[in-house]
Symmetry: C2
Subunit: 150 residues, 2 copies
């Protein structure tokens, strides 16, 4: 199926190597998510939410792999048990803090996408996304206070 770009991520990261692997390291970076004019009417009422889910196309991922070696691990893992960009379809999802909506630009905190990444969708983040205590499988002990990396 065909997917269209609805906007662009403007982030401080211009190279893959600059993206912090751990969420805790990127908490303070502020990025701008630009929504194209033709979709800006859909942003109404978004500002009341403290967090939004961004869906993007990780356009710099050229390869596709079903087993990957995560940067914080020494074992190869199934790609669906990671957030690696090398996954089929190269879609990325990040939950970020929404600081402000200025016209058709969102100011957000905690992004881990490259500058220029195509935006595909925005959704409000609601608490039903996390109702019960969670287990984090192979990531256990590899993250700081359960803060997961890619």
């Amino acid at each position: 199926m065909e997917i269209v770009q609805i906007g662009t991520v403007h982030s401080p990261y211009t190279e893959l190597g600059q993206i912090p692997g751990c969420a805790v390291d990127r908490m303070e970076e502020v990025a701008v998510v630009e929504v194209f004019q033709e979709y800006s009417d859909g942003l109404q009422d978004l500002e009341g939410f403290s967090h939004v889910m961004l869906i993007v196309h990780m356009h710099k991922a050229e390869e596709e792999k079903l087993r990957v070696l995560p940067p914080i691990d020494d074992q190869v893992r199934g790609v669906f048990a990671t957030r690696s960009p090398l996954r089929p379809n190269h879609l990325g999802v990040s939950v970020v803090e929404l600081l402000k909506v200025e016209g058709r630009n969102l100011m957000v905190k905690g992004i881990d996408f490259l500058d220029g990444t195509p935006l595909i969708d925005i959704k409000p983040f609601t608490s039903y996304d996390l109702q019960t205590p969670i287990r984090i499988g192979w990531l256990e002990g590899k993250t700081r206070q359960g803060k997961g990396p890619r």
Copy 2:
């Protein structure tokens, strides 16, 4: 860009009207998420996670609207401030409880997708997706204990 289907959701809901609007109403329903053979190697290590994020194509949504009337509201809202399937690209994301991985089938709890919905991606759900208390904008007071609907 072109997106491929990697599997299929087999859920108890065969019509749109059967899908519970509120997460709390669908907590107990069990569904099977089938991953196509060619992608099944990517499922390794997934079972350790208690929750996964499913990305799907909400294929029954034919219209595209930037302003929608949510089923639990009496005001029209920007589509990006809702989880309406009428959004551009018709992508859906649900965080579900992963009960079991059997071969290339995932048994999950808490799904709100129609039977036959094309699966696009699976990601592990990690606690960094929710680090700080959240505000839920126009949904405040419209949901039970902050459990958000579509």
